[in-house]
Symmetry: C2
Amino acid sequence: MVAPVPMVEILRGDFLESVHSGHAVVCRADGEIVEAWGDPHAVVLPRSSSKMLQALPLVESGVADARGLTGEHLALACASHNGAPIHVEKVNAWLKDIGCGDDDFRCGPQESRDDALRLEMIRAHQEPCRVHNNCSGKHAGFLTLSQHLGGGAEYCQIDHPVQQACLSAFEEVTGDTSPGFGIDGCSAPNHAVTLHGMARAMAFFAAAEEGGDTRQDAAARLRNAMMTYPELVAGEGRACTELMRACGGRVALKTGAEAFFIAIIPEKKLGVALKIADGTTRGAEAAIAAVLVKLGVLDPAHPAAQKFMTPKIRNWDGLVTGAIRPAEILR
Amino acid sequence: MVAPVPMVEILRGDFLESVHSGHAVVCRADGEIVEAWGDPHAVVLPRSSSKMLQALPLVESGVADARGLTGEHLALACASHNGAPIHVEKVNAWLKDIGCGDDDFRCGPQESRDDALRLEMIRAHQEPCRVHNNCSGKHAGFLTLSQHLGGGAEYCQIDHPVQQACLSAFEEVTGDTSPGFGIDGCSAPNHAVTLHGMARAMAFFAAAEEGGDTRQDAAARLRNAMMTYPELVAGEGRACTELMRACGGRVALKTGAEAFFIAIIPEKKLGVALKIADGTTRGAEAAIAAVLVKLGVLDPAHPAAQKFMTPKIRNWDGLVTGAIRPAEILR
């Protein structure tokens, strides 16, 4: 087992105050590792970084087309969104289209991350709904697929046809037999895999072409939906959204809880999977931005690159007290 | 340089999802290291864990007694409080007693961490004040000392008599020449030191006796104030407060930003200093609780020990999805 390697440094004044170590793999669709830091064979839970894998059965089954789902729906199915009005309204409309309501969701209620909506709801004494959960787009996809596959209301149970379809797609595209699963923040199963397997899956998404076989076509449509609607995949101010825009729509990005991040780079047919071992978001954001710069798909001078890769740290009075920067191996 | 060692594990289902590594030292007042994990010579910024050192000049100068400051004031001077009504009211009364107002503070405004007050202020469209800053008790102490020492309104400047007095006390009690400082979240200088120096300083606080020389008396009074008023040092629900109560008033505890923690154990005349290398609070809280259990001053079956050392992780729907536990070396 290879130890995680220092990837991101937290400076305060002249002092190195904290360090984030991790593992990362850059991979081709045939599984060849182009570059790796730390342990490519580390077993990880990719969390929300696996949402495009979990959305494959929705498209492959034909139910997405039968229900008239658009690119916006597919982007939301892959999203960890802010629960901003743009997300909540579109997911609620989707729910209504399939004849479902908030109570049909099996993700728990979560406070909106959109400042204006959050404050508005507090002032109106409104409790968060399940649709505000950052995973509600994925769950709208699960509900849609569930109507097609049957299996009843408890679509998050591991033996439900929806989750069995997700597991098959996950294992086939990662090329690994998953050693097991954990329960995610949204109550759905989340399957474990090696970091290498996850990077290989992302390379499959990178190389997939619309009009190819069913799986390729589904993967390409999901990837293209993410790149076309970056504001739906996360939201204003968030790393996924801003870095996808900074890459000029040429890269699909997706974060996951506990400091997971993936990148899908179609023009290079490369997939990236990254895990900061301590689970800290600021580390994963800085590290994925640094990898994108190293791969030549993100301009380090772009404001979004600076915001997430080399941000200044400010205190409660707005004074600059420190900075974040990639560690030597990612510079 | 010794690498940080794994101290805390984050589990999801059966999988080890994330790990927090760090350094810790248990030390006597004469500087003898009783036990160490990782690198005792790591240079650290102890952040708010140094507040009792920064409060020494307030007591030693005689101004605390001249102004009639009580144990509650001294506990607040050492606090990173929640900005709950209990803290805000007492700090505002202190400010008024010394003829100062919110604008005299040089800490920035910070939203209250007390849920009820925070929601009340949002609903009333009230902006946070500087008194809500978690460090406002320390700053009330700085303002009080500044009236005694002179030097003008900018008491956070490194060459101000208040900060020079803090630096002298810091270097004398840690036994180290500080290699420099960073600016803290509250805009005050925060001096760097080795972890060993910080643990030695905490052992001085552990061994100090009221009625001893001026410094010993001041250190003992500050330590006793922290142990007597744990609710003022942090607040309801917080690790410092709940773990001090769980130790039955026999230990003083203080966290610092970026995953610092200290413990002062008078009955054993021991000091503890701990830094989780990645800066994550959940790691520091679990690790300090585990060290206290190892030292025999915290019952691992106490609800507060379980809450911070071995908490269950729940998701948005309240399901248990994982757990936190000390790594092998701290079990």
